[in-house]
């Protein structure tokens, strides 16, 4: 019995490490997008520059929302390890609502930019901006899809060993996205209006 539990723990720790390795490669991809943005941020091609285009109060709201969702995701793992199914589902649901709010705000940002004629095709700056921030948004969307699937599985099967592992993997992914966002709001938005 003890051997089985140990085996489970070892399997979990290997799974987490493997997933962490994937997250590191994803981080490297974002680094490439950041590098492209650093090179192209001033290539406005007669179009608007960073200070004309960013809505900082909106970005602050997005940041706080995403931070809160990272918190609820972390707590979900804690309660999953304690078998509290209802609490876990509530926390994951909260994470989903917060994540969806973040995405909605970001999409409204993109929509208003495009409506004004500042599409990704307008300039090198806008291409690199939409690529970087858009890729992060795509990751958030994938995470939201993952959340929905987790919630459905939890409702049907409850908390088992494999579900706890899946929830932990999801939260690793979600924390990772918040970490990338730290650098997006610092390097893109805050630096952008300060240059």
């Amino acid at each position: 019995m003890i051997a089985a539990a140990e085996h489970e723990a070892e399997k979990a720790s290997k799974t987490y490490f493997l997933f962490w390795t994937y997250l590191m490669t994803d981080l490297l991809m974002f680094a490439g997008l950041f590098a492209a943005f650093a090179v192209l941020r001033r290539s406005t091609f007669g179009g608007p520059g960073e200070s004309e285009v960013y809505n900082l109060p909106l970005v602050l709201a997005e940041t706080i929302i995403l931070l809160a969702s990272s918190y609820t995701a972390g707590l979900a793992v804690y309660f999953a390890n304690r078998g509290r199914l209802k609490v876990v589902m509530g926390l994951l649901y909260a994470t989903a609502v917060l994540g969806a709010s973040f995405l909605a705000l970001e999409l409204s940002e993109f929509a208003s930019l495009i409506r004004e004629g500042n599409a990704p095709t307008r300039s090198g700056f806008l291409s690199s901006y939409f690529s970087l921030v858009g890729t992060h948004g795509l990751h958030i969307t994938a995470g939201l899809l993952w959340l929905v699937i987790l919630l459905v599985f939890l409702a049907k099967r409850g908390l088992r060993g494999s579900m706890i592992r899946k929830i932990t993997l999801f939260s690793m992914f979600w924390h990772f996205l918040d970490i990338v966002w730290i650098f997006i709001f610092s390097i893109v938005y805050l630096m952008g209006v300060s240059l």
Partner: protein
């Protein structure tokens, strides 16, 4: 450390760091002659970002909290240096290319090449 304490401390710390960075920048933007110079402001924002990175890695992702996640931390440090190289080298190279490809520079290059 108790995990709830860990997540809560991380939340508070990240929140404080975020608000500090935003307030400094928004103050700079709204009062044109501000106390902080642009380079100093950017440096502070980057430092705050690094501190928040460390805080989130430790309090949310528990990097450094368990003995088993040693390799995870190692991998992250390795990736971090990889990122430094990718970003800094790209900016350096593209900056040089940007300068060397201007018409004046290219004409200079042709001139230099023709004198063998």
């Amino acid at each position: 450390m108790n995990r709830v304490v860990s997540y809560s401390a991380g939340l508070v710390l990240a929140f404080a760091l975020t608000l500090t960075a935003f307030s400094l920048v928004l103050a700079h933007v709204h009062h044109a002659p501000s106390a902080l110079s642009s380079p100093a402001l950017i440096a502070i924002v980057l430092v705050l970002a690094m501190v928040q990175l460390a805080a989130q890695l430790y309090f949310f992702l528990h990097l450094g909290q368990d003995k088993e996640s040693r390799w995870n931390t190692t991998l992250f440090v390795f990736t971090f240096f990889g990122i430094l190289v990718v970003v800094l080298a790209s900016v350096w190279i593209m900056g040089h290319l940007n300068y060397n490809m201007t018409p004046a520079q290219m004409n200079q290059y042709f001139q230099d090449q023709s004198t063998f």
